[in-house]
Symmetry: C3
Subunit: 155 residues, 3 copies
């Protein structure tokens, strides 16, 4: 059980690091080819509604989004910083690992002071791969009713 | 020593998760039946003063508080999000484990952006039980001079 | 690998705890005698510029800074709170450990509500010592363009 906890902590750290370094290829590599990534308001998540701020079904859609971000969009000088807590998880033998991990994401836009972009939790499903645990599904559930800017970047 | 660190991280994660899901029964289950839970300003804690914003002595008082929260109080749509760091701890053979763990707690009220509810640390005493480490005493020490709202919910 | 991750988590927790308790001797003890500690804006760090908000080369300069903080400076009642995520690290056999760890640092000044002092990451180099991993180099890289107050205290 401890080794699962450590693996989840390690993979989550890589996830945060990839996003905050704008290394979207490394971010994508944390998902299986057919993984589903969503960003959803807590209210919709809890009611089981499909409405999502971002919905990427598999590496293809992830790659499209990455291209859009890297090639098309004009970024204001902006950085994000993910600080996560430790996950709670369920690991039944022979089954996938499911986990929930709380997150805070801060952003700095230009010369303004840091602000809270979002707080919430990741609701996840992981499977074992040759490189250890890998995301089959991640839903970034945010507590805030609104995300301050039109969100183009994964949470 | 590493296994103690991992156990503390795991239990703290469960604590955060229970509170942020409003699962107060799961929260209470992390304490021994005679555990003392307190919420205290840093100034009072450091001076050893008894003054506390919340003081719950044992499962009976915890259950009363839970009933009060669940049955009586009208909650504005509000969520909390606990993001903790890793603990520092002392584990002497044959003695209880004591630890300190830094926390940030964010809240979202209605449609307002996330705000910092409190930052501080947990000052804890744990004992071994059949289910692993369990809290015998937890004091949530907050750095802020004031808590933004009348605090009814545990930190 | 897991034991390196746990060691880094443990040492980082001690680092945060030392600073937030104003125990600068404990803070200094986490560095080798000839360690370099820097606080640098992300922009300068990424461009490889030497410009740093704080630059302490070895225990001697750290001790001077500590004396300056403890003896000379008049502190407004203020507390800091470090909440870090887990590190990503590289540990090649026979080489030093390098790591990056995201941080959020909050401060409380007088009776004001908590605010974000800085967010960013530690860029580190660790070596093995008798007491486990110890910092040979730490650069606290902050995302914010500005630090709210003239920074006298290590991040």
């Amino acid at each position: 059980m401890s080794s699962t906890l450590l693996s989840l902590i390690e993979k989550n750290a890589r996830y945060a690091d990839a996003l905050d370094r704008f290394d979207l290829a490394a971010w994508k590599a944390l998902f299986t080819a057919d993984a589903v990534y969503r960003v959803q308001a807590r209210e919709n998540f809890e009611r089981g509604l499909p409405l999502a701020l971002m919905y990427l079904d598999g590496h293809g859609m992830m790659a499209d989004r990455i291209t859009a971000i890297e090639k098309t969009l004009v970024f204001a000088p902006r950085t994000t910083r993910h600080v996560m807590g430790a996950p709670v998880f369920v690991h039944e033998p022979g089954k996938d690992v499911t986990s929930r991990t709380p997150f805070s994401v801060f952003q700095v836009v230009g010369h303004a002071p840091p602000e809270i972009l979002a707080v919430g939790f990741y609701d996840d499903e992981w499977i074992e791969s040759t490189g250890g645990l890998i995301l089959k599904r991640r839903t970034a559930v945010y507590d805030n009713a609104l995300i301050p800017n039109s969100l183009v970047y994964p949470l």
